[in-house]
Symmetry: D2
Subunit: 426 residues, 4 copies
Amino acid sequence: MSAPAVGAVPCDVRDLALAERGKRRIEWAFQSMSVLQGIRKHIIKAQPYANLRIAACLHITPEAANLLITLRDGGANLMLCAASPNSTHDDVAASIAKDYNIPVYGICGESQEVFDVHLRTVIASQPQLIIDDGCALTATLHEKHPEAMPEILGGTEESPSGVARMRAAAKEGLLGFPVVAVSEASTKQLFDNRCGTGQSTLDAITRTTGVLVAGLNVVVVGFGPCGRGIAARARGLGANLIICEVDPTRALDAIMDGYRVLAFAEAATLGDIFITVSGNKNVISREHFDKFKNGAILCNAGHSSVEIDIENLGLTALHRRQTRDFVEEFAMRDGRRLYLLGEGRLINLNATEGLPASVMDVSYATHALSAEYLIKCNGVLQKQVVPVPLEIDRQVARIKLESMGVKIDRLTVDQEQYLATWFQNA
Amino acid sequence: MSAPAVGAVPCDVRDLALAERGKRRIEWAFQSMSVLQGIRKHIIKAQPYANLRIAACLHITPEAANLLITLRDGGANLMLCAASPNSTHDDVAASIAKDYNIPVYGICGESQEVFDVHLRTVIASQPQLIIDDGCALTATLHEKHPEAMPEILGGTEESPSGVARMRAAAKEGLLGFPVVAVSEASTKQLFDNRCGTGQSTLDAITRTTGVLVAGLNVVVVGFGPCGRGIAARARGLGANLIICEVDPTRALDAIMDGYRVLAFAEAATLGDIFITVSGNKNVISREHFDKFKNGAILCNAGHSSVEIDIENLGLTALHRRQTRDFVEEFAMRDGRRLYLLGEGRLINLNATEGLPASVMDVSYATHALSAEYLIKCNGVLQKQVVPVPLEIDRQVARIKLESMGVKIDRLTVDQEQYLATWFQNA
Amino acid sequence: MSAPAVGAVPCDVRDLALAERGKRRIEWAFQSMSVLQGIRKHIIKAQPYANLRIAACLHITPEAANLLITLRDGGANLMLCAASPNSTHDDVAASIAKDYNIPVYGICGESQEVFDVHLRTVIASQPQLIIDDGCALTATLHEKHPEAMPEILGGTEESPSGVARMRAAAKEGLLGFPVVAVSEASTKQLFDNRCGTGQSTLDAITRTTGVLVAGLNVVVVGFGPCGRGIAARARGLGANLIICEVDPTRALDAIMDGYRVLAFAEAATLGDIFITVSGNKNVISREHFDKFKNGAILCNAGHSSVEIDIENLGLTALHRRQTRDFVEEFAMRDGRRLYLLGEGRLINLNATEGLPASVMDVSYATHALSAEYLIKCNGVLQKQVVPVPLEIDRQVARIKLESMGVKIDRLTVDQEQYLATWFQNA
Amino acid sequence: MSAPAVGAVPCDVRDLALAERGKRRIEWAFQSMSVLQGIRKHIIKAQPYANLRIAACLHITPEAANLLITLRDGGANLMLCAASPNSTHDDVAASIAKDYNIPVYGICGESQEVFDVHLRTVIASQPQLIIDDGCALTATLHEKHPEAMPEILGGTEESPSGVARMRAAAKEGLLGFPVVAVSEASTKQLFDNRCGTGQSTLDAITRTTGVLVAGLNVVVVGFGPCGRGIAARARGLGANLIICEVDPTRALDAIMDGYRVLAFAEAATLGDIFITVSGNKNVISREHFDKFKNGAILCNAGHSSVEIDIENLGLTALHRRQTRDFVEEFAMRDGRRLYLLGEGRLINLNATEGLPASVMDVSYATHALSAEYLIKCNGVLQKQVVPVPLEIDRQVARIKLESMGVKIDRLTVDQEQYLATWFQNA
């Protein structure tokens, strides 16, 4: 680890000289983070995190920086490490350390070893509250640092997969502290899955390929919240949508929205663009490669990079080559060419700047408020995965509405009473 | 009660001579009831209801008739009474009795007294299973016929308000048998609330008023499943939508779908058509009458007839008169005229033939399968409101898809394993 | 012809006693006719038709009545006959005569002979200006009453087919006076074809069949303005659309809007509902009857009743019967049943109350202003079909906007100059 | 001008070493240019341009390269210069010269002087046919090289502004040869204005700003074909649209599509994003700067860079700075910050790779076929701006459909006859 710059907080970042650009990006993002803006005044006044040591393990982006700044201004002693070795924005990391005096450990492209060192460094600071994205910090704590556990009053988790792991641990009685499942807040679902993934996935496809989406057959594999969002945006661009599903209720749902639903084997012969968001592996696999039209574009916006069986695609193809940034061409034996975007990883995160700041805003404000909740409920909550309190979800929505200048109604006393009793008179 | 016709089953209907028209309508509806069609073969073969006495308390419509016929063909001994005094289609009731030999008690416009007699007649038949819509039969059983309870192995309930009452009863330990909440099945939500209410509400408005919806400001009060469905359909007709909500999360949801969200006091000044689906009372009330534009149309597709404060509207107006079927004009003191549709009752049910048969099909097939489930689980289920088993929900969706010729994928063994374990590797 | 009622204007209507209901409907329609409302003040003040004899040959509906009243109030001496033997609303005809003192000749269901007598009666009044819908009056004048021609200073025509005939006549030098092609005004195209036909066609289908449109495959044959309108509305109801076209440019247009385009032979195997708006004959014909799915619904909203080859459908079917109002069932030899709506006539006009009043408003206001234009330009215009002057088209749009409370911008002087010269600097 | 590389065609490009990247991009674009692909076989066989000298003045992009290659393969002797000093893709220019042996003159960022030299070089080659985009070559020919005119049998023009200038010239009898107005082909309108501009404008906004469009108020100034396309795409992304227009017919059109229409002064107070496509100057001007919300984003996708009065915006602001690529911040005296994208130039062309290849394909195929048409009609056409022949427009559409695997119907002989005569029987 490089020595900290003289007079600066301890950190391990690419280059502090990048801080200026990072700062500009942090400030730009902040303008779209209206919920964080909205809770700042309260947090600064109430100092809910006063003197608390909070460790955050997040993708180091401009939006994450703004969460950290908010927590700091609410009294927290902070420490930040990267949630994965390749997701750090080095300019942002530099600015967090240099301009905001928050210790930060993350370098884009760091080795697994360095990544682990960063995690341990953060753990060594004896955190009392954990803000996690993907469970790396929480898992390391549980597996390797049982000594640090008693100090910790709770955690928050950003990702569905992190929550799933924690829930599995809790089921076996192994979770060491209560964790708030931020990933399941309804505002997060709305912004992140439906709106954020929808827009950014289509954005990534047009950026990387330059195709005109109107008039194309777009096949969406999986009609969960992300699939719905993507389908809506692709339709909005003039595509003809085909949905593939294994769940009959979701399939029916797609049909009643006017989409065509087909088994993938048939869809494979019709599609111009294929987007996987099924959350499962090999949904595009060996048996389908022969069916695709010449020029078909394959990409993934779902789970990890397993949805498309790339290994077998490579084995089946005569040869493969990079034709454009993020576009790999697979020349098939019969002359057809297939195009894989972004190596089958989450194309919406990899080929764009990531989710819009206003999307992350909703998540990160929920982290901040959930952290306050964990502190207030210290000792009361069980060592389980707990939902985001309805009141926080509503508060986030309310502040977002206010920031948009939207006014909504309130129930009258009469109406509240009526709601409480109507079924008795129904 | 009139004497049963010689040679016919006992019944109390308007006029058996209406049967021919009723039969034609029952058959017409059946053509759109593809799920009931799809489960018939199984039901006829399996005879799940063999020798069981089933009492149904339903709105007597062509679709209900087809449920009854299915149950009968599955071995049930049936008896049917009306779910409300004014909802019986007399021709259908006649045909149920005459053509299908099912005892039926319901006359459109019957007095409360006759309605009660009908309920008691059905109870007197000592039913073992209850199919209810609105809780009238179940409530009467609980309140007035405790002696009949021990025989009853369970019930199904169609309406949200019925389910709410039963849940309240169960909470106090008063529910006498398990009840399946058909109203909460996800296929029912999709078909009934989103698609059925959406289409039929706009249909009712255009039928009763003859307006061109394109270009109008349509205000939807309430953005629950029904409100969403209505908003989608009104937008599909070219309207500009304004949504009013008290729940900030729902309000935000509406905004992210591109709708305008306003407090009702402001929306009142802008709307051409107002549709209440809030589930609450007086959402259009005295303080708003002055704000409406001349010619504004008010209607309700939500809960009961309480959403619009009609009494006060009448008191505020200079005079009121019926201008067209289902359209009442209120002349205001300042010269404006407001139009109330269908006396503020559910306009989509009152001013059309009711929900499409394919909508009721999904509900009624769920009743049939839930009845089978109750019989199978006799003695196992607690005296609670229980959800429709996921498997039944999926089966309904699957049969509907098959009837549409839609094929969907199945998980491979590999994929099932992956789903079961992915969070461990996430 | 029955004798005119004592003290009333001469007329031939079903029954003057129907006038009360007719008057109520005329008034109701007027509320939606905001453009006619908007030009009334000017017309009453300017008296553009003062002492002019105007003969109108229109479908006798509440909206037509309001045009007549406007012309009368602008000084015209009027006479009205029906545009077809079966389209007269008898209550409206009665009210026009009784309540508004306008001579009217039309009885719903009148024989061709009576229809002709009515035309001749109107011609005998020596009209100076013709308002026509379908060319019956103009054609009769040209073919049988050359003596009446010199008096006539011009005409207006509502229907595309009428305009086509007149244009054909003009081409051969046979048109006796200038005719304004109201059917081609851009506001009329927008309101009538796209919005009016779109909404009313779907309305007619749901009324007559009760189907839930969501999730169905709807095949639209013809992607002209009407086809586009219908497709947009069906999509808005949740259908999956298939478009059939013979024109490649229009077909491509449909694809770029995200619709599926297929040859009809393939579409025939997929559709649940078929709507013809091609303007041609036998677009659904013998070779397709075998392809339809069981339960397919066929209807026409295009040209006359020739688009579906009903005669051959009848010959191919085993038997046919009326199952509901406007629904005829054709039982095919292989057991499938097909449903024809409204005998293949324009389903949107026949199975509903007709186009919304706000649609006809735009057309009829254009007739009124075009009549004024003809009078002003008397002697100047050639004996040709002439377009609606752009200024009238814009005036209609402007008044409609004003009636909706919509304000739009005006070009500044600078901007006008820039527009006039920009290409020189481009 | 640099000396041509030994063994290569004469050219003036940035660096022939860039050719490899250029070639890859040309090939990538070609895959989306299905109409050019579709006409190649015919052109290679028919050699319509055999031995003809064709001068093209186009933006030097991968798509333009593919047009040139097609013309070359059809027998033409070609020469290409840039249509503007800043639009040349240097890698593409290099490849055109090096890999395809076509003389090319264009360097991105060349001075006006060099630009003029390039034009003269091309003119010196004594072209017989002109392919122009923006009229620079044609205008130079007319103004400065009358001696070259007699050789020229005709031209084609890509841009509306070029066509407008040529039409103005023709009006005064000054146009020296017939010019086909490619910009007015209906397929070009569809692809370029509605689909291409729509998608690329929203693409540019999300790329440059990273905003989530869902839930924002997007103001589109101008509801011509481009405005419609942009509005449709913004709506498809979940925005709430506000349209501003000066033409009442277009304003009404927008309303009947469900959009809100407001005068700009009111829209200015509500919008989050403003997009000008009015074709006029100063539609956003001094009087509006005070009205915008803090954070409002301004951009132009219309005509030139005059639609937003940037000069006055700069004078009004306290200071301005570049905050991100293509994003300039204007800090207003009251603390609000406004953001101008891409210096008010066409954001969709400047901040993306340009229109999708499949859009340009349609235009360039029309140029190729129109050039063939000009040759065939040599001596027949008048020295006017002439429309693209309907048959070419249809052929382009037909080939595009075929490339998508879409089959459409053909009229039967019977139907053709019917169409020819129906009005006689109507």
